[in-house]
């Protein structure tokens, strides 16, 4: 603060410490990048002409749309299941706790590929689905094939598997909220469900969103496994099929890789925006919630504000 009587001081402009290492590193990286680009562009085996030819091929574009549809549908199913099972595991009802635990145990403990094969075979294992009382009368009967086609099987397989992983992320998010928040809500007479919906989950989103974005990006590429169902319309299968027909697998792999990279980049932007949105009100230094189950040392690290974000499980399958 300068008072009106004192003149504005001349600001210091010291010369920065020279950092020649930066320039050396830049030069080395520049050379390496030039070599890489040169190698990519001049190597005739990549067949960039074929890449260009198929980049906007109708079958490829349809494959991109199917991949996106599978990703969105599977994540929607996964998030729904994850929130439900995470809340079930925190419930006072031991039956719900047990059901959620077994769900996570099974779907996280078996390979997603195996699960997809299973969902593909379900109409062989159970030709008929019926709704009724066990050993008693049946009310509705379906042909399994009519209900669970390849698309549904792929979404169920991916979504159920993803839900088990996301459930742990959601649970760690819910547990990361200071118990003072529960106490304040309880003391105000708020019900458990209201507290979860209005107080705990909005705060936990800050912890839940970053790893969920990570999971979404991971899911984008896991969709390539649905060939196990078999589901044959998504990007990886379509490009491979074209590559095999034309005996040019490499350029079509590049086509697929380009699309995965583009979509991932778009998802990263979306994830960044979501993180900023859920960071509301957390900028003050004195609002560091104490994290349950975190050691004293890690708590000190968090309190220092040097490590922003939260300690979440990295659980990419």
């Amino acid at each position: 603060m300068s008072s009106p009587t004192t003149s504005h001081p001349e600001l210091l402009r010291p010369r920065p410490v020279p950092r020649p290492g930066n320039w050396v590193a830049a030069a080395i990286v520049l050379v390496l990048v030039a070599m890489l680009v040169n190698g990519l562009l001049t190597n005739p085996n990549y067949r960039w002409d074929v890449v260009g030819q198929y980049l906007f091929d109708e079958r490829v574009l349809r494959g991109v749309v199917w991949t996106l549809l599978l990703t969105v549908a599977a994540m929607a199913l996964g998030i729904t299941l994850a929130v439900a099972t995470a809340i079930m595991r925190m419930s006072a009802n031991p039956v719900l706790q047990g059901v959620a635990w077994v769900y996570i145990w099974f779907f996280r403990g078996t390979p997603v590929y195996t699960q997809l094969v299973f969902w593909g075979l379900i109409s062989v294992l159970y030709p008929r689905l019926s709704l009724g009382i066990p050993f008693g009368p049946e009310f509705f009967v379906f042909d399994t094939q009519d209900v669970i086609n390849a698309t549904v099987a792929a979404i169920l397989g991916l979504g159920l598997n993803e839900g088990a992983y996301l459930s742990e992320i959601v649970r760690s998010g819910l547990n990361s909220i200071d118990k003072g928040q529960w106490e304040a809500s309880t003391a105000l007479g708020m019900k458990r469900s209201t507290t979860l919906r209005r107080i705990i989950i909005p705060q936990a989103m800050r912890v839940i969103v970053p790893p969920t974005g990570n999971e979404t990006i991971s899911m984008l590429k896991t969709t390539s496994l649905v060939v196990a169902v078999p589901f044959t319309l998504e990007l990886t299968f379509v490009t491979q099929a074209i590559g095999n027909q034309t005996f040019l697998p490499v350029p079509l792999l590049i086509v697929a890789a380009i699309y995965y990279l583009v979509i991932t980049s778009i998802l990263m932007v979306g994830q960044h925006r979501l993180e900023r949105y859920y960071g509301r009100g957390f900028d003050g230094n004195d609002v560091t919630p104490t994290k349950k189950g975190v050691g004293k040392r890690q708590q000190a690290i968090l309190a220092s504000g040097t490590a922003k974000g939260a300690p979440y499980l990295d659980v990419t399958p």
Binding site: K191, P202, R280, G281, G284
Partner: protein, 254 residues
């Protein structure tokens, strides 16, 4: 208003409250004093059932907290209240915490509006008006749109008081409301509490502010080791204690 009758509390093997009897009349300000770990905060948390008592009876506003008595023939059984019933009981009791516990993702005004809308079912417009009035009462009309993280500790605690008052409680509990504050911010919070006491609110206050107890307490209760050692007016308990433990304590803090 409050009638605790032989209240015991165990945390596992730890005997935290050892048969506490306490009566607080409507409109009375009761200040609980005593060394750390004497059970003051636990007693306070038993009043609104944030902790369940292990033995005895806790009556608030003529109702047994957390339980109800069911007469079966010539026997009286205790049944736990449902979550819904307990929420109804707690909604009548305001509580202010040492660490404020404001909702960090909501503005100060939204913090105050939240429970009246969600619990009392007030319309948004009415809750807003009530919240604005209360923010004025605690002297924070110019901070309604700030998030808790942008407020000082004293301001946060005053928002927390407004939030509790928004439920139109019959009783206010204060759990060391100034202990987490920088010394220069203590006065503004005590000021709001004094105004509240003058307005006739029934209050139970756990604090280390002996001056506050002298000024506004109708009843001062000194606790040590899970028991009430001495009770009476501030003049009796603080300035002229009869018991050794009380004398030792005030000799140290005064």
């Amino acid at each position: 208003m409050i009638h605790a009758d032989g209240v015991h509390k165990f945390f596992g093997d730890l005997h935290v409250l050892k048969g506490v009897d306490l009566t607080v009349e409507r409109g009375e300000v009761c200040v609980l004093l005593g060394p750390s770990g004497s059970g003051k905060s636990t007693l306070l948390r038993c009043i609104n059932e944030l902790e369940q008592i292990s033995a005895g009876r806790m009556w608030v506003d003529g109702e047994l907290m957390g339980m109800r008595e069911v007469v079966k023939g010539d026997q009286v059984q205790l049944h736990r209240r449902t979550d819904k019933d307990l929420s109804r009981q707690r909604a009548k009791i305001g509580m202010v915490f040492q660490r404020f516990n404001l909702f960090p993702h909501m503005t100060a005004l939204d913090n105050v509006m939240e429970a009246p809308i969600q619990v009392l079912g007030l319309r948004k417009r009415d809750a807003r008006q009530r919240a604005l009035d209360l923010m004025e009462r605690v002297g924070l009309s110019d901070r309604t749109d700030h998030y808790p993280g942008q407020l000082s500790g004293g301001q946060q605690q005053r928002v927390a008081i407004a939030r509790a008052l928004a439920m139109d409680p019959q009783l206010m509990l204060f759990d060391e409301p100034t202990s987490a504050l920088d010394p220069e911010l203590v006065g503004e919070v005590l000021g709001v509490m004094k105004e509240l006491a003058t307005s006739g609110m029934t209050m139970v206050v756990v604090t280390h502010e002996v001056g506050f107890a002298r000024e506004v307490a109708d009843q001062v209760v000194f606790m040590d080791d899970g028991e009430i050692v001495e009770r009476g007016t501030a003049a009796e308990v603080i300035d002229n204690p009869a018991q050794r433990r009380t004398k030792d304590f005030f000799a140290k803090v005064l």
